[in-house]
């Protein structure tokens, strides 16, 4: 079992690379039972107290920060898309890439427990995609993304979209190094979802209300959903979109461009990359 990413070795799989492997990174981490803590330390038998004050997610955060540095050095703008299963993340991503991919280098990292279906759908648009299968894992973490970036060989100045495992709980806690988390909520779900899953909507900077073409057929009030999200996160940006009809997609793509410009404002290295 990998102590860093919490995945079980042999269970998390990144496409094209057989299974999740270690040893090619500059970092060191051990597998349980084989580490040096298995050996007894002579001369240390007295009980003592150690004040640690260490964040439990500190390792994930250090991998996420390494990813963030990589993105900054290469002028890459990365988004982490989170939602329940079935909110239309992949369809939305496909439509986004059809627009953004014409003029910009884009890459997608797909997280699912099993199958390469989503990465296959993305690749049909001509955009390089890499599937991570988390096995029993419920979220992507910073370490997995670091491995995926090694495989993707991203161009400088690119856009990287990370489609997290469909789960409104666990991915909230794991920073991947992205510029923003984007929470997608479809109108076929409840307006109260931000209240039911507050941690995710607190962690996200943007909420996309998807499947708005279905609004005439469902009992969903956009205003109420927006108010609920803002009870959790007063600053959250809300956009309504339909991957099916294309409504709102231009605003969404515009937001991506603006957010990228804001992130890299004043960064000359990025200007050069573009």
């Amino acid at each position: 079992m990998c102590t860093v990413c919490g995945c079980r070795s042999g269970e998390t799989r990144i496409e094209d690379g057989a299974e999740h492997s270690h040893g090619h990174h500059a970092h060191h981490h051990r597998h349980y039972g084989t580490g040096d803590a298995g050996a007894s330390v002579p001369g240390m038998s007295q009980s003592r107290l150690i004040q640690l004050e260490q964040d439990i997610l500190s390792k994930n955060n250090s991998y996420a920060n390494a990813n963030r540095r990589y993105f900054a050095e290469h002028g890459i703008f990365a988004l982490n898309l989170v939602s329940s299963p079935g909110s239309g993340k992949t369809s939305l991503l496909v439509e986004t890439l059809k627009r953004l991919g014409k003029t910009h280098a884009c890459y997608v990292i797909e997280g699912d427990q099993q199958t390469t279906n989503d990465a296959d759908r993305i690749r049909e648009t001509g955009v390089p995609a890499l599937q991570i299968n988390t096995g029993k894992g419920c979220h992507l973490d910073g370490h997995m993304i670091g491995h995926a970036l090694e495989r993707l060989a991203t161009k400088d100045g690119a856009y990287v979209f990370i489609e997290n495992v469909g789960n409104l709980v666990c991915p909230a806690a794991f920073d991947l190094g992205e510029a923003h988390k984007v929470a997608i909520l479809s109108v076929t779900e409840g307006e109260d979802k931000p209240l039911k899953y507050p941690d995710m909507f607190a962690a996200a900077d943007v909420m996309l209300l998807n499947k708005t073409d279905l609004l005439p057929y469902v009992d969903f009030d956009v205003e109420i959903a927006t108010a609920n999200a803002r009870k959790i996160n007063p600053d959250i940006k809300v956009l309504t979109v339909s991957a099916q009809s294309g409504d709102g997609l231009e605003d969404w793509v515009d937001w991506i461009g603006t957010a990228r410009a804001e992130l890299f404002a004043g960064c000359s290295a990025t200007d050069a990359a573009e």
Binding site: M1, C2, T3, V4, C5, G6, C7, H29, R30, Y32, G33, G35, D36, A37, G38, A39, S40, V41, M44, S45, Q46, S47, R48, L49, I50, Q51, L52, E53, Q54, D55, I56, L57, S58, K59, N60, G137, C138, H139, D141, V169, C170, A172, A173, F174, P194, L195, P198, D199, A202, N228, R230, K231, I232, P234
Partner: protein, 113 residues
């Protein structure tokens, strides 16, 4: 249910500390888990027992300290204890609350031998 991978993170930290601070057994682990950390303390206890089985922390006592969640209202400036992220300001009813405490997810201290 990411408590299991959090426990694996805890064990990873214990192993690192064992190497750098020269100990071979962990007798007690004290955690600080805020009510807004997204973590269920009971699930964490369950995961801790499973993950530490056969390790240097096998059988270690797990103390979980749960601090209060507090937030400051951007509308009226009041700082108050809240229960949930969607609570309004108890003073003016606004939802413009900035969380101050309650998101902690930390190992506070260890008792080792």
């Amino acid at each position: 249910m990411h408590e299991m991978s959090l426990c694996e993170n805890i064990l990873g930290i214990l192993l690192d500390e064992a190497a750098s601070q020269n100990f071979s057994k962990v007798d007690r682990v004290c955690l600080e888990v805020g009510p807004l950390s997204g973590v269920e303390p009971e699930a964490l206890r369950f995961g801790f027992d499973v993950v530490t089985r056969g390790s240097l922390a096998h059988g270690a006592q797990l103390d979980i300290f749960e601090p209060e969640a507090t937030a400051t209202c951007a509308a009226c400036g009041t700082t108050a204890v809240i229960q949930d992220r969607f609570d309004p300001c108890p003073s003016c009813g606004s939802h413009l609350l900035k969380i101050k405490t309650g998101e902690e997810l930390r190992i506070k201290e260890l008792e080792v031998s």
